[in-house]
Structures are given as structure tokens and as C-alpha cells.
Amino acid sequence: MTVETRQGQGSGQNLWRESRARNVRERLVRVVLRACAYVSILTTFGIVFVLFGEAFTFFQDVSIVRFLTETQWTAGFATTPEDGEFGIIVLAWATIFSTIIACVVALPIGLGAAIYLSEYASAGLRRWLKPALEILAGVPTIVYGFFALTFVTPFLQGTILPGIQIYNILSASLVMGVMIIPTVASVSEDAIYAVPRGLREGAYALGATKREVATKVVVPAAISGIVASFVLGISRAVGETMIMAVAAGALAQLTVNPLESMQTMTAYIVQVTSGESPRGSLEYETIFAVGATLFVMTLLLNTIAYWFVRRFREVY
């Protein structure tokens, strides 16, 4: 479109030389750039194809009803579909349980940090705290896993919870909570920061204190962005892999005791893929069925978060 405008202006001038090569290059660049943008579509297509393709093969051996209703997970010991139990609920519950514990830690702390950074911290302090939180966000999850296993668990064992097992869901989930604090804090802070100044000033004019402004005016005004940050945090917790694989152990059991080992969906995939599982074996197919379940769960959560973020953008 720009090309036409330019030609219109330039025609008839000696200074301006028509160049076919330039036009060809313009078109070529456009095609190449567009192809790069399509890579993302291909990626999604590949993920859906692989997960649901292999999961489909799995569901021909083990019915989807068994997958959803059985209450044990013994895929590791099963050589034929008949002699194992494939209740996804066991792994899914571990994922949900660990997510709940992590959220108890991360959501209030993340929101508190967001309020502090946006409403209380001086500009100078903010300039130090925000990068520090970003560094926290940049710590690889394997490092958190190591920390949960070699520091948090022995620490809990030595102080308040002597009965805790070496591999347990509690330490892993607590550390996972710390891991998602920066996600919650930074998305919430963006939402809180976007609340117009006038709202705060109006509340101050009515005699509200700083805390009252923060909790009764600013937070409610930013609520959809805050909810979005919570959902994003939950989504990260659901998909978190290495902390669970390292510190929560590999015991697929349905329990509510956080001091014991439980295997999440992600940790199961790691356990199977770090061993030898030849393509086409039953165990190989289970990881794709588990992966597909995980993919659907996170997709749902991300869609909810996306919807909330868009809503919060439209408010002002």
C-alpha cells in the first residue's frame, strides 16, 4: 500500500527511478516475514497432532472411561492394558493438590508485593526491587527443585515436621509457590499501576487512609487484572515440572497427606522419558495421554486469564 503512494508521488521526476528489484525485494521480505509468523501456528498444530494422535492410540487400548474413572495409576508396571490401572485422577489430583498449596503461598504474597511496589515503594526502591523480583523469576526450576529437596525438606524435618518424608509434596509445593510469586506480583502490579490517579485522589479527598485507598479503591478497580495474574500463576503451577520431579518423588498415590510423596502429571512424564521407553510401547503412549490432559488444563486456564486481561484493558 505504501508502495503505491510512493510511486504516485515519484512519477515523472528524474530523481525517482522505478526499480523493479526494489519491488521484488519488498514482496519477498513480506513473504519471508509472514512465513516466520506462521511458525507459531505450525507449532500449535504439531503439539495438538502429537498429543492427541498418540493419546488416540492409547485410548484404543485403554478406554477413556477407564482413564477417567479408575482410582489407581500403575502404568509403570503394566505390560498389557489389562493388568494395569490408568486412573488419571491420581496424577491430576497430585497436580491440583500441589497447585493449591503453592497458591496459598503465592497469591497473597504476590498480591501484597504488587500493592507494595505500586502504592508504597519509593521510586528509588522500586528500581531495585523490581529487577530483584525478575531475577527471582529467572531462577531455573531445576535450581528450585534442588533447593526444595536439599534445603527445605531437611529444614522442615529438623524443625516443625519431623515426620516428613524425604520426597514430599509439601516442600515441593511451597518452593513452587515462591517460584510463582514474581508472575503474580508483576501482572498484578501492571493492573494496579494502571488504575487512574483520580480514583486514588478522590478517595483521599473523602478522608480515606492510604491502606483504605489501596484495599478498597485500587484493588477492586484492578480486580480483573489481579484475577488474571492469579490464573496465570495457577497455570504455571499446573505445568511446573522440575520442582515436582526432583522434590516430590515418584509415588503415584491418591492421598491428602502433604508429608508424603505424590506424583504429578508433569513428574510422571519426566520419570517415563528419563528411562528407556521405546516408541509404541504402552508406557510411551501414556505420557501423551497425560500430556494431552495437561495441555487441555493449561489451555483452559490461559484462555480464562487472556479473557480477564482483555477485560481489564477495556475498563479504562
Binding site: 513480506r30 509468523a37 507459531s40 531455573p140 535450581v143
Partner: protein, 305 residues
């Protein structure tokens, strides 16, 4: 908090009618204010305190293990002889592939979406798709690598597969960061270039991209450090537990720093835990330097605007 909130409500109810009966309970409300300030300040510090404890704990275990031998030795099943060299080289190979693949593709896609794409259903789909991909757990990318790159494309459990998977993984991050940087370039810059007879690509190439570079670079560095620390997808495609040789080429089997750390962590002997801690010290140093660099770059860029 509940006490103070009832007071505020009561005070509001009383305000209109009664003149002399006006109570503000300023003292109590300011007390709650101080308490709340302390609470949110503590919330901000908790994460950082954990980071501090983590660094000290890992450093205490890992630093004594760091030696010339650690950096120059091959992998071994025996803790005395085990070194980190194959893991370091593996990570460098992966980083190289990601630099060659993900950075240009990501920047190109971002430029397309910001500068060329019309508002039609396909481009909206791409946009929604990218933000969804950014939220897909990394282990799922590992399954993509295992199913498609290892088996269907026949690339095997190789460095190339690892690099490509990490590239796909961080592509959305690079695209999102670059788009923001490109969007921040004022429209007048493009118009100025057009006025001088530049084509759209010339305007982008010579004027928009150079201005967007610091922002794009910051996002890219953060994405690259994520790639360096990423573990789960590499385990899924089958990086090897320890290497007694160095990676030789794109199709060579490989290990990487986080994989080596994961495998050492899984060993029962304490000597291996210390090796893992030493590996973490190296990994964290690399990440701290690159993240600090990215943040410094952004601050410098922001101040100029």
C-alpha cells in the same frame, strides 16, 4: 482489618445526618495502616529472602567443589572424576542453535505482526495462538520434540532436536517482547522515512528496527536465559545422564548444564549433591550476568526516553 472496616462504614452512615456525633477513629485506622504497610513490605521481601537463602545454601555446598578439574573433566559415574565440561559445551551448542533459529524468526514474526499484518481473522488467530503458546508448559514442548523431531523427522536424541525445541519454546517470548519494542517506535519515524522515498521494508530495516533494538534485545536476552535454564523438555527428548565424550556435531547426543544438575541431584551420594550445587553455582552466575545485562540495557534505554 474487619474492625476498622466496620468503623469506616459506621462513620459513613453517621456522616450525613449527625453533626456532632462524628467519629473518625483516626488513631486506630492509622494503626491498621502501619500494620498493613509492614505486611505488604514483608510480602515483597519474602521472595527475595528465599532467593538469598537459596544462593547462600547452594554457594556453601557448591563453591568448594569448583576447581579446574570440575570445569575441564568429562562426565563420570564416579563423583571423584565427574566434571562439567560436556554440560557446558552442550549448553553452548544449544544456545548457538537458539541464537541462529529463534532470534531471527522471532524478530521477523514480530515485525510482520506489528508492521505488515492486517486485522483479519488469520492474524488475530496468530496473535491469540502466540499468547497461548507462551503459557504451554515446557514439558509439552518436550513431548512435541519426542514425537515429531526425534521420531517423525528422524533427528534422534540430538543437539539439533534440543536446540530446535528450545527455539520453539522461547519463540513466543521473543515475539511478544519485540512487538512491544516495535510498537513503541513513534509513527513519525516511519513517516519521515517514507517522505524521503524509503519503501516499507527500508523504513523498517533502517529506522524502526534500530530504534526498537534495545527493547527487543532485552526481551531476547531474558528469553535466552530461560532457554539456558530449561530442563524438562530436554529430559523428554532424551538428553543423556552423563557424557564420557564431548559433543561432536549437530546430530551428536548431548547433555546440558541443567540436565547434568538434575542427574547429579538424583544420585544418593552426598558427593554428587555437592557437584549438583557446584553446577548450580555456574548456571546461576551465567544467568545473573545475562539478566543483569538485560535489565541494565532496559534501564539505560528507558531513561533516554
Amino acid at each position: 482489618m474487619s474492625q476498622s472496616s466496620t468503623e469506616v462504614t459506621r462513620q459513613k452512615e453517621q456522616e450525613p445526618g449527625t453533626g456532632g456525633n462524628f467519629k473518625t477513629s483516626v488513631g486506630a485506622r492509622h494503626g491498621w495502616d502501619r500494620f498493613f504497610t509492614a505486611l505488604v513490605f514483608a510480602a515483597t521481601l519474602i521472595g527475595l529472602a528465599v532467593l538469598g537463602v537459596l544462593l547462600v545454601d547452594v554457594g556453601r555446598q557448591g563453591v568448594p567443589v569448583l576447581s579446574w578439574h570440575f570445569f575441564t573433566s568429562l562426565g563420570s559415574a564416579d563423583a571423584e572424576n565427574a566434571g562439567f565440561l560436556p554440560a557446558i559445551l552442550g549448553s553452548l551448542w544449544l544456545l548457538g542453535i537458539v541464537l541462529i533459529v529463534a532470534v531471527p524468526v522471532g524478530i521477523a514474526a514480530a515485525v510482520y505482526l506489528e508492521e505488515y499484518a492486517n486485522d483479519n481473522w488469520l492474524n488475530r488467530l496468530i496473535e491469540i495462538n502466540i499468547s497461548n503458546l507462551a503459557g504451554v508448559p515446557s514439558i509439552i514442548y518436550g513431548l512435541l520434540g519426542l514425537g515429531v523431531f526425534v521420531y517423525i523427522f528422524g533427528l534422534g536424541r540430538s543437539i539439533l532436536t534440543g536446540g530446535l525445541i528450545l527455539s520453539l519454546l522461547i519463540l513466543p517470548v521473543i515475539i511478544i517482547a519485540t512487538r512491544e519494542a516495535v510498537r513503541a517506535v513513534p509513527q513519525s519515524v516511519r513517516e519521515g522515512a517514507y517522505a524521503l522515498g524509503a519503501t516499507q521494508w527500508e523504513a523498517i530495516r533502517h529506522h524502526v528496527l534500530p530504534q526498537a533494538l534495545p527493547g527487543a534485545l532485552t526481551g531476547t536476552i531474558l528469553a535466552l536465559s530461560r532457554a539456558i535454564g530449561e530442563t524438562a523438555p530436554l529430559i523428554a527428548i532424551g538428553a543423556v545422564p552423563y557424557m564420557t565424550f564431548l559433543p561432536e556435531g549437530l546430530l551428536s547426543s548431548f547433555t546440558a548444564m541443567p540436565i547434568q544438575i538434575y542427574n547429579w541431584t538424583g544420585e544418593p551420594e552426598e558427593a554428587f549433591q555437592n557437584l549438583a550445587a557446584a553446577g548450580i553455582v555456574v548456571l546461576m552466575l551465567v544467568l545473573l550476568v545475562s539478566n543483569a545485562g538485560a535489565i541494565w540495557l532496559r534501564n539505560k534505554f528507558q531513561r533516554r526516553n
